[in-house]
Amino acid sequence: MAPSPSPIPLAQRLRAGDPRAVARAISLMEEGGSAAAALHAAILPATGRALTIGFTGPPGAGKSTLVDAFVAELRKSGRTVGVVAVDPSSPLSGGAVLGDRIRMGRHTDDPGVFIRSIASRGHLGGLSRSIHHVVDVLDAAGRDAIVIETVGAGQSEVEIVDVAAVRIVVNAPGLGDDVQAIKAGILEIASILVVNKADLPLAPRTVRQLKAMLSLRREGEADVPVLETIASEDRGVAELLAAVDACATLRPEDAAARRRTRIRRLVAEGAAGEMRRRILAWDDAAFLETLARAARGEIDIDTAARAAMEAQAGGVPLPVAVPQKADRRAG
């Protein structure tokens, strides 16, 4: 089909907050490729304004229900919200049932809440490969707050540190072997700890255990609040938002540093991916010989890798020249 008769550039449309453009842009980021990279570059200057909040924790802790209630609280405070809900993909088919919508029913008629479900697509760390880009799209679209709900896989979720300024680790009483369900690594990234389903009989014990673990692991650091919520009844949620806001305003200088780290990490990831793609497709005779030598054990793999990388990277001095056609975009 022919393109739209009077296409307004997607970047412009999404920055105006047009939900269709935002949705398309997210899909584009998920797809990746040069168009995604270009769009990302175009919107990057408009990012950095939104408050980003991550929710993580073991399955069954009630994350979706808590996010639903938390988003309602954000709306009450007059803020527009973007939600990115990450669910696991099936390792077999690559497909996924994204069911977070089930517990986020109350915002279906509210244009102030934009919810996007994302499949993790096998990406480790409970997030999706494109999560940074997706969050940037919502940020550039002018959402005041962006809530990221991760797969509660419990493994190396430290990535969320880069994505979310405030990290909320949600737990609930009676999940598995008490708070063992929360892995040590996750505890360390928490800005706030929440014990949801606080009306359950074991809740006080869970709170005590979390506080004990915190005192062991975070000695000398700023206090991490431990809050109790009953998300299904909206209880404790206003207090949670207050804690989030307090946390976000605590150290503004962190924001800039976090942003630099984030970009650095994105560049590193991108570089790794690009290098991987190039080397996998490389059939230069000298390189094939290097591979053969590595196979015979004449050189070790690390040496071969470094040689391949340097050969690939050779001849392109930094910094990169700004491509000419970038000027065309202005206006």
């Binding site: 393109p3 490729g33 993909s89 077999l92 497909g95 996924a96 279906t108 991916g273 975009r329």
Partner: protein, 148 residues
């Protein structure tokens, strides 16, 4: 940057109207997931504006509506609302119990296919795949203009 790759088809599996029986829609959701699609699954009783908002935000390629009672009767209104919101490219299938005489009204409204009870897994997956690909091909993509 992230690598270009094929993005799985995205399908919204939902129910509008009054009925709440969701055994069929769950099974279909599992079929589509196992076929490698990303299925956005909702509780029953979505409103028509709610479906439009969902389909927009989730950028789905296909919508599957399950109707076991008489909820298919308001599907034509949903089709109208989708078109009005610029989602005319999204393929729509209805699964469930739709009397023969009422199927033509759905077809006329733009529903691509009505699956009766006992429709085979392959038949459903094949149809949704074809519709999703068609939807992707027909969608108006104007992002290229945003490239620097």
């Amino acid at each position: 940057m992230i690598h270009a790759g094929t993005r799985p088809l995205r399908v919204l599996v939902t129910k509008i109207g009054l009925d709440g029986h969701d055994r069929g829609s769950r099974i279909v959701a599992a079929y589509l997931r196992d076929a490698g699609m990303e299925v956005i699954y909702t509780p029953p009783w979505q409103t028509i504006p709610g479906v439009v908002k969902l389909a927009t935000e989730e950028d789905v390629d296909v919508i599957g509506i399950s109707s076991l009672a008489t909820d298919h009767l308001i599907v034509p209104k949903m089709m109208e609302a989708l078109r009005a919101a610029g989602l005319g490219h999204v393929g729509v299938v209805v699964g469930g119990i739709v009397p023969e005489a009422e199927q033509s009204a759905l077809a006329a409204a733009g529903v691509s296919r009505v699956f009766g009870p006992g429709a085979a897994r392959e038949e459903i997956v094949e149809c949704v795949t074809a519709l999703g690909q068609k939807s992707r091909a027909e969608r108006v993509d104007d992002y290229s203009e945003a490239n620097p």
